[in-house]
Symmetry: C2
Subunit: 279 residues, 2 copies
């Protein structure tokens, strides 16, 4: 593990960390914010933030406006990358933004040439949590998870597939039914092939239909999000949660788009909501 | 005036605006945040934020974490660029970061080949305020000014040279005595030539020595700022303010560096301080 940077901010420390990942076979970089309370010697709740298409750890780290709230509530905040990167890692042939580099979709690819490196599911559900638990004062009995867009998809599928692991789950503008939208069809097809059962395990609405449950869920989406009706389709999540008895708080935010100007606006409210359940 | 982007954030609108500048002879781009109170129809106090070396309007707009506080207090926040840009605008021959593009130093250059375009003093003190007053609900009777590093220098010299214009003045890690430090010697020499009297008009410590006054001043600097003792030298400002009877609140922030991780940490406190004097 290599500390790439360690900068004081909001009374705590914003770190960027690089490590050799066994899951992806590449170096992986993530950011972790340790709030001021981390200097007290005890263990603190941890929030996982999974980022969207094209992002690295840096986008939310620079633009997410999470540190003030994490410092207030005493939350560790971890932001992984969105795909393996580096020499030899295959990318989309056409260089598009929605597949390959920056677009790992939080699955373990089974299709060539992606199967070797694109193992983001194992990375974010096993390898990175083990590393964070070993190296930082994270209380793994008090975890929350959130994410944006593709990372909202990741947060929901990870939480639905690991009952009891997360005490709080929220998302910003998530892809809720990738099997039914262009981004998801391309990604699930490309990484998982034509395997409907595999797809269902990485589709939040399908997981809920198949019996996966959360107690409650907070989701914010902007009404001016250009992907609202084509890629996000929050009404599919609403219907699935209603049918399943999941307590979904879905906030449609008038005039907000898909950007970090939207995310940063509601970040502190999401973190307060997580803190209520974790602290 | 062209609205490049207009995005909802923190209940208000974050705009990026481009316009043809008579001062610089180029297009200039700035950002302006209109808080939710701007929809009420009245005029609001305006904070000018002058950025540091290498920055455009975008750095503070993305990383400054000012919108929550501006929305709370009802402040308009304007962030200009740091130099003219575009085809034909001369840059430093060596391509260094501390002169030329991104490094206008808030002076009107008298030296060739910079004199034609590098007129940032006129731009930020006359042309941009006139544009903002004409096009946005800014109460020009309630202005505050702040800035970072080179922009801290700009904020201080602009405020010291326009008595009565600003009700509140603060800076983050400012260059306070450019005549006495490498960044400033290079910039003032390159833009203004070997003219000691010209230099003194763009040196905050010299301006105070020569009789310019502010009622009070808030300054934050990090003790881990790598430029603290070579370029910033806040003790020179402290001594000048003491001699002049200027009420300087100089906060040396333990362990903080020169980055936006430092600025964003103390942004809300600065804006609250401005709001106390403007609202």
């Amino acid at each position: 593990m290599e500390i790439v940077s360690d900068v004081r901010s909001h009374g705590g420390r914003q770190l960027v960390v690089k490590h050799a990942s066994a899951a992806t076979g590449t170096d992986m970089t993530f950011s972790i914010f340790l709030p001021p309370q981390a200097e007290g010697g005890g263990k603190l709740p941890v929030i996982w933030y999974l980022s969207g298409l094209t992002c690295t750890h840096a986008n939310v780290t620079e633009k997410g406006e999470y540190r003030a709230a994490c410092a207030e509530h005493g939350l560790i905040f971890v932001a992984p990358d969105t795909s393996p990167r580096g020499e030899g890692v295959p990318d989309d042939h056409s260089g598009s933004y929605d597949f390959g580099l920056g677009a790992g979709f939080y699955v373990d690819a089974t299709q060539e040439p992606f199967a070797k490196n694109y193992r983001m599911w194992t990375y974010v559900t096993e390898e990175l949590p083990a590393l964070v638990a070993a190296e930082f004062p994270a209380d793994m009995g008090r975890q929350g998870i959130t994410g944006h867009s593709m990372g909202g998809h990741g947060a929901l599928t990870v939480a639905l597939s690991h009952p009891g692991r997360f005490s709080s789950v929220s998302t910003f503008a998530p892809i809720v039914a990738p099997s039914q939208v262009p981004w998801g069809e391309k990604a699930l097809g490309g990484y998982l092939g034509d395997e409907p059962e595999q797809w269902r395990q990485h589709d939040s609405v399908a997981l809920i239909e198949d019996g996966a449950r959360l107690d409650e869920l907070l989701v914010d989406v902007g009404t001016a999000d250009p992907f609202l009706n084509t890629e996000l389709k929050p009404e599919l999540l609403r219907r699935a949660c209603e049918d399943a008895g999941i307590d979904l708080q879905l906030n449609l935010r008038e005039g907000y788009d898909h950007s970090y100007y939207f995310i940063s606006t509601f970040m502190s409210a999401h973190l307060a909501w997580h803190a209520e359940r974790l602290c």
